[in-house]
Each structure stands twice: as structure tokens, then as C-alpha cells.
């Protein structure tokens, strides 16, 4: 194995899944993949809160097609951990409080934000604690689903480095440029920007990099039409569209990112965003990857990319 070789471990879209976050840290800390750096391509936060409703001296929650009850502190802790492992946020409430939240979207949104921030804060502390003394850096960008309120928490992290909107050195003489934005989606998520503006930002960042052939793009949204961005096309009611008995699917990535990749031709372009479109593809000389995501099932999907002075030696999928 060449001395100048570095191995990058790429993961994405864990969406609040506590188990997969722990797995990612453990994989890095224990050297399971012999990685020299971890790059996370966005979407840290979860998408749902599970009301854990107080009933008859205990708690009851419905999630993942099951009704679970807890009658002791230990059972409650286990229940909440299971909810967190799926990427959801457990919310201890009475039935009245749950109804109240349903009736008040603003209050619900505030509660979501609190839960999201609390978990990101806990994860950053966990990373600092577990990775202390480790030589494997962790670089992240947020994703379009991550509210901007987590940025200060990421900035305070003692171990994880947010490279959103920055050009940062990686091991092996590489540089990474990061962006957690995306082109507009039907869901109006927090970090969406018009595609031309998005492309301009990526281009501006790329121009700051030393050498395209030693630069890694870490951009949550994949390039348009790359095959890493294929998703069901939706109608105005956000339902998948079909014609002639077939579901319409198409590219939903960013044309701005595509243009930047084609013009700048970085060594490697790492993405996430479209969970079901994991894979690898070459755009001109650039290897583009999307690990995909099965975080909701506790499965951590990733890619290992070996880079030497000659360029990319190999890339292969891993899961744990």
C-alpha cells in the first residue's frame, strides 16, 4: 500500500438516526475501514417526532408499524433510544399536549427545532468524547433538510468540522470544498437556493482551491442528470406522477453543480440527498459518488475512496 495513499470514508443522509451516527464514529475511531478522514455529505437531522404519550401511569408510542408501551424508567429509556435509532425524536407528552401541538403548527415547529438542536448538540459532544486522541478528522456539510440553527452548534464542535461554504485542507494534500445547499425542491426545505445562485457559489469556492485534480467537492445535492439524482417526479400535490402505467422518474439534481463539476473537473465529487439513487458515475474525469441511505433501518451505507498521488485508485461501497 503506497505511503501517499489516503482513504476517505464517505457517508450521507443519516437523518437523525442515532445508531448510524454512533456507527459512523465507531467505524472511524476503531479504524474498521482504515480511513484517514470521514466526509459526511449532508442531512444530519431527522424528519419526524414520535409522541410518547403518558397513559395510565405508563407511556405509549406508535412508530415503525408497532405500538410500544413503557411502564418503567428503563423501558422508557429503551423506547426513546429505539425511536432515536430510527432517526425520530421522542416527545414525552400527555394526550392533551399532543393534540395541542397538532393544533398549533408554530409551537410544533419550535419543538421540532429544539429537538433537532438538542440532538445535534449531543452528537457533537459524543464525537468530541469518542474521537478524542483519534487522528481521523470528520468533515461535514449540512443538507437541505438541516435548519440553519444547527450551524452555530456545528461551529462550536470540538471535533467535527463544518466545511459548508469553505475550502479546507484534507489529509494527503487534498482540499475539500463544501456546500449543504440544494436547488429548489417541492418541499421548500431550509437550504434551497435558485440553481444559478447555487452554481455560482460552488464555482466561487472552486476557484479558491489550489488544484482541481487534488480537490474534493463535498456537496449535498448531486449533479443534474448524473444518475445519482434520479427520483420520482411529483405533481402539485407532491404525489408521484405516472403515465401509461409507469411511474415517472427523472433527474432532480442541480444544474449549477453539474456545470461546476464539468468546468472545474475536481478529482472527486461527493453527494447525498437522493437516498434511493446511491451509486457512482464519472462526469468527464471526475468520479461522482452518492452513498445512498438506509439510516432508518440502522444500516450505515458508505463509500471508501482510496486516493494516491496518481489520483483515485479505487472506490467501493461498504455498509455496516
Amino acid at each position: 500500500m503506497a505511503r501517499d495513499r489516503v482513504r476517505l470514508y464517505v457517508v450521507s443522509d443519516i437523518h437523525g438516526s442515532e445508531r448510524t451516527w454512533r456507527k459512523m464514529l465507531n467505524a472511524a475511531r476503531m479504524g474498521l475501514y482504515k480511513a484517514d478522514a470521514v466526509l459526511f455529505a449532508g442531512d444530519l437531522t431527522g424528519k419526524a417526532m414520535v409522541p410518547v404519550v403518558r397513559v395510565n401511569g405508563g407511556y405509549r408510542a406508535e412508530f415503525a408499524g408497532q405500538t410500544r408501551e413503557a411502564h418503567t424508567d428503563r423501558e422508557l429509556e429503551s423506547l426513546e433510544q429505539d425511536i432515536a435509532n430510527l432517526g425520530y425524536y421522542a416527545l414525552q407528552v400527555t394526550a392533551e399536549e399532543a393534540e395541542g401541538l397538532r393544533a398549533d403548527p408554530a409551537a410544533l415547529e419550535t419543538r421540532f427545532t429544539q429537538e433537532i438542536e438538542s440532538r445535534v448538540e449531543a452528537w457533537m459532544e459524543m464525537a468530541a468524547e469518542r474521537m478524542a486522541g483519534s487522528s481521523v478528522p470528520i468533515f461535514v456539510v449540512p443538507g437541505n433538510d438541516d435548519p440553519y440553527t444547527i450551524d452555530p452548534i456545528l461551529a462550536r464542535s470540538q471535533y467535527v468540522r463544518n466545511v459548508d461554504g469553505a475550502v479546507v485542507d484534507l489529509p494527503g494534500g487534498l482540499q475539500v470544498i463544501g456546500s449543504g445547499k440544494s436547488n429548489p425542491t417541492p418541499w421548500r426545505t431550509p437550504r434551497e437556493v435558485p440553481d444559478d445562485e447555487f452554481g455560482a457559489e460552488v464555482t466561487r469556492l472552486a476557484d479558491e482551491a489550489r488544484d482541481p485534480r487534488r480537490t474534493v467537492f463535498l456537496i449535498h445535492c448531486p449533479p443534474y442528470g448524473s444518475g445519482l439524482d434520479t427520483a420520482p417526479l411529483l405533481d402539485r400535490t407532491l404525489r408521484p406522477t405516472a403515465t401509461a402505467g409507469d411511474l415517472l422518474r427523472g433527474p432532480v439534481g442541480s444544474t449549477g453543480v453539474r456545470k461546476a463539476v464539468e468546468e472545474f473537473r475536481p478529482l472527486l465529487s461527493l453527494h447525498g440527498h437522493i437516498h434511493e439513487s446511491g451509486g457512482e458515475v464519472k462526469i468527464r474525469q471526475t468520479l461522482c459518488l452518492n452513498p445512498g441511505s438506509e439510516a432508518a433501518y440502522g444500516i450505515l451505507r458508505g463509500y471508501l475512496v482510496d486516493v494516491s498521488s496518481n489520483g483515485i485508485e479505487r472506490a467501493f461501497r461498504v455498509e455496516g
Binding site: R19, R22, K23, N26, A27, L32, Y33, G46, K47, A48, M49, V50, P51, V53, R60, A61, E62, F63, G65, T67, N85, Y88, L91, V93, A95, A98, E99, R102, P105, L108, E109, F112, D145, P147, T185, W187, R188, T189, P190, G227, A231, P240, A244, G245, D246, L247, R249, H275, E276, Y297, G298, I299, L300, L304, E313, R314, F316, R317, V318, E319
Partner: protein
């Protein structure tokens, strides 16, 4: 900003709207995918299989075959629960290959590869079994129309696709190619359209089964069949009964004991049922609640399988004369030169002999009996391609093998590769190309034959049936992180143990023991000749091929610097 949706119950999720996995196979699609995967030729031919194991078959409420259907079906409920549980925590396409490779420590990748490789070739052998049956059912449909109309074109339907009365040679091969071309057209449709075709045709074919049952029970009779046999089929019920006695297939009672004999019949039922669980192999494409979807699809298909193989088959057989079914079937499987009408005892054909005035109904049923063996083939190719995709992602085969075509959204290379093997089987069935082999290992007449491929297929499917039990037994202990919240997790080891024991006993008596007994004490054959004629040699050959491919790919990956042991290494979750 994220938004929220409102739901009525206090326990329901508060969700942020966002994108997620959107899959394309509905529960009903999955149910009929499974149904099309197992029925095959059965709709018209189930009674033909009474005689396949050549053991005494009796009747006590149900026939020995019907009891085997019920008993194997009851045990297979455990398999259904295992698949539903495992797919709910690993909803991947690839089925048990994925489970075995991930749940069995150290040797899992190798066993998973061997299990899926043998399953693929078992399935390809079944395709080879079904394609000529599609042609034969067209002949039978022609004969039914011929009986009804007297038109000579249809009365001579036995000559369709046939060379000297047998579906073989160039006519048989061209017919097989036409069927395979149609299969290819169906299987390369985009996923959603593919499933729409399969679902629609399966519903139509099942409706024909209902038609057969209702009209068969109401309007056919043993006496009518027996009275018309001499004029229509040129034989008598007595002659057919004599053939049944001579073949040793006439028995008394349920015939469940001794187990050693009954296992042969249970083995035939495993052959009939294989496929009822295949929606688990496309779990990565099933919409909604995967656990519920797979459970409904698998249990639903299993229920249909049990009813079709017990109630449907036994009631209609009793109606038309049970011993006639036994004798006619035995004559078919033994290649008797005096086979009535030169055709097997297809239900609609016998119904036509009994009640020719309803020939249009029987022709429709027979045509549906043609649709199911046809449908089975694209379904098999579809799930085989998904296994190929899973192999490719794990670098068990070259990466190009699993490339997903953007337009079709299907792994076309894997589909084409499977089809090429199916064509190869068709060639070997129709031309005596294996005659050059030494006589000890050459198939009879130098061609593959149906019985050998069926037996071979059953042997090759052993790991497919056995390993889910082992996975359920050990998975909760080896991959606690993945199976922690699996449905029925606490029961999985018991389910696995019972299922593995059931399959172990069945394969011991119906597979391994007869092979060992016959191989070392051959009756008029050398050991090699016995192993060849029983399909064991072919199975062993393909196991060796699987091992060689595994080793080659391991070397290739190592040379490329890819440590495959890392690919699904367990990461401590806490």
C-alpha cells in the same frame, strides 16, 4: 422552513415533509408476483404431479398430494414470518442472499453466494421446464378446440412445434425461442409496467382457475369421462388404471407415513411452491410498510398455493376419477408410448373429454394454463436480475453485470445473461448436443429432459429453503444491531429451528438418503450413471462452478485492492 402535517390520533407521528424512498411495487403487485412465480403449469396440470414421485398415493379426505400441500404449507408459514421479519429490517432486493451474507459471521458471504447461485440455476432450470410446457399447453388447447369443433388443424395440434410427435428439434427450438422472445419483451418493461402486466395476467389466469373449479365440479363426471375415453382418447379407464397399478402409484389412506416415503411427495410440493416467497427478493422495490406488504404477499400467495394444490386439485381429480389421474400421470412421467392422446392429464383436456359441449370454457382454462407457465418465466428473470444486482453491488460478479439501465430502470445485463442461459437450456433440450459426452455422464439421448431438470432444480434449491431457517436462528444473536426491533424477533430463533429441521428431514429422506443409497448400491447402473441420471452430477458441477467464480472474484478484488471483508463488516452500534 420545514412544515408539518396533521393527523388525528395522539399517537401518530408528527412529520416534517420531505423526500424519501418511493418504491414502485404495490402489495397486490407483490402478491401476484409470488402467485405467478409458483403456479406455473399447475392450474391445468396439478393432478399430473400426483405421480411424479412414483410413490403410492391414496385418499383420506385429501390425497397424499393434498396432505403434502397442507403440511408443507403449514410449515411454510414459518418461512413467511421469517422473510417478513427480516425484510422489514433489511428491505433490500436480493432476498436471502442479503440476509445470509449479513447475518452469518465469516462464512456468510460464501454461503450466501452459493445459496443464491444455486437458486439462480435452479430457477433457470425451472424456466427450461416451463417453456416447453407453454408449447405443450398450446397443443392441448388446440386438441380441446379440435374435440369441440372437429377441425383437423386443431385435432392435429400434437404436431405443433413437434418433431416426430415430440416437442424437440428445430420446431421445438423455434417455438421455445418465440416464447423466450416474448418473455424478454415482458421482463425488460419498466418496473411498474412489468408488474401491471404480471398482475393483470395472473388475475385473469386465476379467474380461469375459478372457472375450471366451478364448471368442473358442476358439469363433469367420472362416468362421463370414462365413457368417452375410448372414442376420444383411444383408451379405457381400465387400461389407465392398470398403468397406475404397474407404476406403483396407487395407495391407501392419507399416505403420510412412513415419513421417508411421504418426503418424496413433500419434495414435489416444495417444487410446486417455490416462488411463493419471491417478493422478499424484490423487497427493495415494495411500497409502503414493507413488513406488512411482504407478509400479505407471501402469506396470501401461500394460501393460494395450498388451496390450489389441495382443494382445487383433489376435488377436481375426484370428480374426474382419481385412479385415472394417477395412471395417466404415471404414463406421462415415465414416457409411456401409449400415453393417451400423447398429452398429460391436463384438467381442461379431461373435462373436454367428459363434457365436450363446454369446450369453449375448457379452452379458455387451458389457455390460462398456458399463461401461468409463461408468466413464471419473466417473474423468475426479474428476481434473478435483482439477485444479480445484489451480487454486483457486493462485487461477487463484475460491476457491469448489475448496471441499471436508465431508461428501463432494470439491470438489463443481468436479465440478458439469465436469458442467454435459458436459451442454452432450450438448445440442450431440443438438440442432442451432449451426446459426445461419455455415456456415464451424457443425458439420455444427449438432450436435457423435463424430469431430470425438475429433480435437478429441487436439489439445487436446497440452500434456498434451508438457509432462511439458519438466518432466523442465528441472526438475532449475530446482528443484534439490525434485528433489535425486527417483528417477532424473540420468536425468530424458534421459527428458524423448526423450519430448518423440517427442510432438513425432508431433504434427507427425499434427497440425500436416496442419493447415498442408490449411489453406493446402484441398481443396474454405475454410481456415475446414477448420479448423472438423477441430476446430482449437474448440481455438483454447478456448485463447483460457483466455487470457482467465487475464488476468481476474490482474487480479482484482492488484486484491485478491494477488501471485500470490509464491505459489510459489523460496526458496533453503541
Amino acid at each position: 422552513m420545514s412544515t408539518t402535517t396533521r393527523t388525528p390520533a395522539p399517537h401518530k407521528l408528527f412529520t416534517r415533509q420531505s423526500s424519501g424512498l418511493v418504491r414502485e411495487v404495490s402489495v397486490s403487485n407483490a402478491l401476484f408476483f409470488n402467485t405467478a412465480a409458483f403456479i406455473g403449469t399447475g392450474l391445468a396440470w396439478y393432478p399430473v404431479f400426483y405421480a411424479l414421485p412414483f410413490i403410492p398415493v391414496g385418499v383420506f379426505l385429501f390425497s397424499t398430494y393434498g396432505w403434502a400441500a397442507i403440511i408443507v404449507g403449514a410449515a411454510a408459514v414459518l418461512l413467511s414470518l421469517i422473510f417478513a421479519s427480516l425484510t422489514s429490517v433489511m428491505p433490500r432486493s436480493g432476498g436471502d442472499y442479503v440476509f445470509t451474507t449479513r447475518l452469518i459471521p465469516r462464512v456468510g458471504p460464501f454461503i450466501g453466494w452459493l445459496e443464491s447461485f444455486t437458486l439462480v440455476f435452479s430457477s433457470l432450470a425451472i424456466i427450461a421446464f416451463e417453456v416447453p410446457i407453454v408449447l405443450r399447453n398450446l397443443q392441448i388447447t388446440g386438441r380441446i378446440i379440435g374435440i369441440g369443433t372437429g377441425a383437423s388443424f386443431f385435432s392435429n395440434a400434437n404436431s405443433w412445434f413437434a418433431d416426430n410427435g415430440t416437442i424437440t428439434g428445430w420446431p421445438g427450438f423455434i417455438g421455445a425461442l418465440l416464447v423466450l422472445a416474448l418473455i424478454f419483451w415482458v421482463v425488460i418493461q419498466p418496473t411498474r409496467r412489468f408488474h401491471a402486466i404480471i398482475t393483470t395476467l395472473a388475475i385473469l389466469a386465476l379467474s380461469s382457475g375459478v372457472l375450471m373449479f366451478v364448471f368442473g365440479m358442476l358439469f363433469t363426471s367420472q362416468s362421463s369421462l370414462e365413457s368417452h375415453l375410448p372414442s376420444v382418447a383411444g383408451t379405457t379407464a381400465a387400461a389407465i388404471a392398470k398403468a397406475a397399478q404397474a407404476a406403483g402409484v396407487v395407495g391407501n389412506g392419507a399416505g403420510i407415513f412412513p415419513i421417508s416415503t411421504f418426503s418424496f411427495m413433500a419434495g414435489v410440493l416444495l417444487f410446486q411452491y417455490i416462488g411463493f416467497q419471491y417478493s422478499a427478493y424484490i423487497a427493495g422495490e415494495v411500497t409502503g410498510n414493507v413488513r406488512r406488504g411482504i407478509l400479505i404477499a407471501v402469506l396470501g400467495a401461500l394460501a393460494i398455493a395450498v388451496v390450489m394444490n389441495s382443494v382445487y386439485t383433489d376435488f377436481l381429480s375426484e370428480r374426474l376419477g382419481f385412479t385415472t389421474q394417477l395412471g395417466w400421470g404415471a404414463m406421462f412421467w415415465s414416457g409411456d408410448a401409449h400415453l393417451p392422446m400423447g398429452q398429460p392429464n391436463s384438467l381442461p383436456l379431461l373435462a373436454t373429454i367428459s363434457t365436450s359441449g363446454l369446450w369453449p370454457i375448457w379452452a379458455i382454462v387451458s389457455l390460462a394454463g398456458t399463461v401461468f407457465p409463461f408468466l413464471l418465466c419473466p417473474v423468475y428473470l426479474n428476481f434473478i436480475s435483482r439477485i444479480g444486482l445484489a451480487w454486483s453491488l457486493d462485487r461477487r460478479v463484475p460491476e457491469w453485470f448489475g448496471d441499471v439501465n436508465e431508461r428501463l430502470r432494470a439491470p438489463v445485463n443481468a436479465i440478458v445473461a439469465a436469458l442467454v442461459v435459458a436459451v442454452l437450456f432450450a438448445v440442450l433440450q431440443n438438440f442432442p448436443l451432449l451426446g459426445w459426452l461419455p455415456s456415464q455422464i451424457a443425458p439420455p439421448g444427449g438432450k436435457l429432459n423435463l424430469i431430470a431438470t425438475a429433480w435437478f432444480s429441487l436439489l439445487m434449491a436446497f440452500l434456498t429453503w434451508f438457509m432462511p431457517g439458519i438466518n432466523a436462528l442465528v441472526g438475532p444473536f449475530t446482528r443484534r444491531d439490525l434485528l433489535k426491533n425486527a417483528p417477532s424477533r424473540a420468536w425468530l430463533p424458534l421459527f428458524g429451528l423448526v423450519w430448518a429441521a423440517f427442510i432438513g428431514v425432508l431433504y434427507w429422506f427425499a434427497g440425500l438418503k436416496p442419493i447415498l443409497d442408490s449411489a453406493f448400491h446402484p441398481n443396474g447402473q454405475t454410481t456415475l450413471e446414477y448420479l448423472n441420471s438423477s441430476g446430482v452430477l449437474m448440481a455438483l458441477f454447478l456448485v463447483v462452478v460457483a466455487i470457482v467464480v467465487y475464488i476468481i472474484m476474490a482474487i480479482r478484488n484482492r488484486v484491485a485492492g478491494v477488501d471485500t471483508a470490509m464491505m459489510y463488516q459489523v460496526i458496533p452500534p453503541e
